[in-house]
Symmetry: C2
């Protein structure tokens, strides 16, 4: 057992973020330069991902790789699927890029998809001119709005789709929604988040009734300040209470 990279196994991370308005995903740039020269042949977008080391499990590798590429550290991260199509890297553009960076384009690679949810305002990404990254990968990590993404590398568009589907199902039964929200949030903010994830609108009064019934969402004696309208009450998620109550069925929406 050693710390070398395993050329057959990689992880790719789909990091969703929410800025209290819309749903975003964290992507890097991949560049292909002319051999020797600096001329750019193409650039496109990738999910943060890389090969695992032989002494790591997949979860550890996902944490490490995400940190190395984006500076994000110690965040909720969960495997949601494995992508193992033998032809998943066979697109000519990808083959060309792999060859250019010195990999064998024939090598079989399966990748484990990880997904994560973070409150956008809480984290700072590495800056554009990240010195530790080579000039062909891992540049310019940025948040992209979900409905405005084009031109993704490899099979990453499919991985992203799959992650979104997984997220939609997951929020129906587990309290992962709170991973996307700041520690304290208003009822409207969490309702809007459900709406952008599910792509449909919800009834305000009914939503608040359900919210009020969840014992693990506790209402704080604190209100918004400085807003140009009635200030809203803040709520927070109590993991303690949830752990004690989680046998009960849990629905925030129907």
């Amino acid at each position: 057992m050693n710390t070398a990279f395993n050329e057959n196994i990689s992880v790719d991370c789909v990091i969703f973020g929410y800025d209290l308005k819309s749903l975003k995903v964290l992507l890097l740039e991949r560049h292909l330069h002319k051999a020797g020269g600096k001329d750019l042949i193409f650039k496109d977008l990738t999910l943060p991902g890389n090969h695992i080391r032989n002494n790591e499990d997949l979860d550890t590798a996902a944490q490490r790789i995400l940190f190395e590429l984006t500076g994000l550290n110690d965040i909720y991260l969960e495997q949601f699927a494995v992508f193992s199509d033998p032809n998943r890297l066979d697109n000519p553009k990808d083959q060309q890029w792999l060859a250019a960076i010195g990999k064998d384009p024939q090598t079989r690679v399966i990748t484990a998809g990880y997904f994560s949810l973070i409150p956008l305002e809480k984290y700072y990404l590495k800056q554009n001119g990240n010195d530790t990254m080579p000039d062909w990968y891992g540049k310019n990590p940025r948040w992209h709005q979900l409905d405005r993404i084009a031109n993704m590398a490899f099979d990453h568009a499919r991985i992203l789709d799959s992650a979104l589907q997984f997220l939609r199902e997951k929020i129906m039964s587990k309290p992962v929604i709170f991973e996307l929200l700041p520690e304290k949030f208003t009822a409207s903010q969490i309702q809007n988040l459900y709406e952008v994830i599910l792509g449909k609108t919800l009834d305000k009064r009914n939503f608040r009734k359900k919210l009020a019934n969840l014992e693990f969402v506790v209402s704080l004696n604190e209100k918004q300040m400085g807003v140009a309208h009635t200030p809203a009450r803040y709520y927070m998620f109590s993991r303690d209470v949830y752990e004690r109550k989680k046998k009960e069925k849990f629905t925030l929406i129907t």
Copy 2:
């Protein structure tokens, strides 16, 4: 790309079966013999599993491996988790066995767990004296009752646990239950199946009300014959109707 085995990646299959009474799982025997001789040092139980080939995706590999080991062919098979603990093969018994069959016990192996559901009476397993299998693995595929399994190889007990948990969640939202039943089945049979999977009893009249509300469970004009009690009506699952209706939410139990 070639057809060699990939020493880093395997699949293991958890095949659940239902004999209209209890829930079973399909296991093989693993033997360790004294070097050279025929003396048996130990034998224990394993899930059917093996390494993938470099030109297969995981789904294909799972189908192939299951067929080679048990003769089961073309059945519903779905990945449910990946097990990637770097120490998952480090138990001395397992290290000894790996060395004995000529593998490097140091090699890092991650495994994809697949699960399947089949109506027990429909399939015939390879017989004990299967000639195509070596004498240290893949012998004697048999159905084992879930609550009476001891002594499993590697981390297979954990994989099995994880599969059962997955099954319990899955039957709550997708019509996989029908994969465990014969084509035609009675209301009591499907209710009993839910009960053995979930480990709790359900109310007969309420269960049947819900069953009657599922348009994709169609009632046949056919009854049991030769039973020593009121003959029960048969039902069947219509995948056609399900596909057309599946946007609707689906619960058979609550």
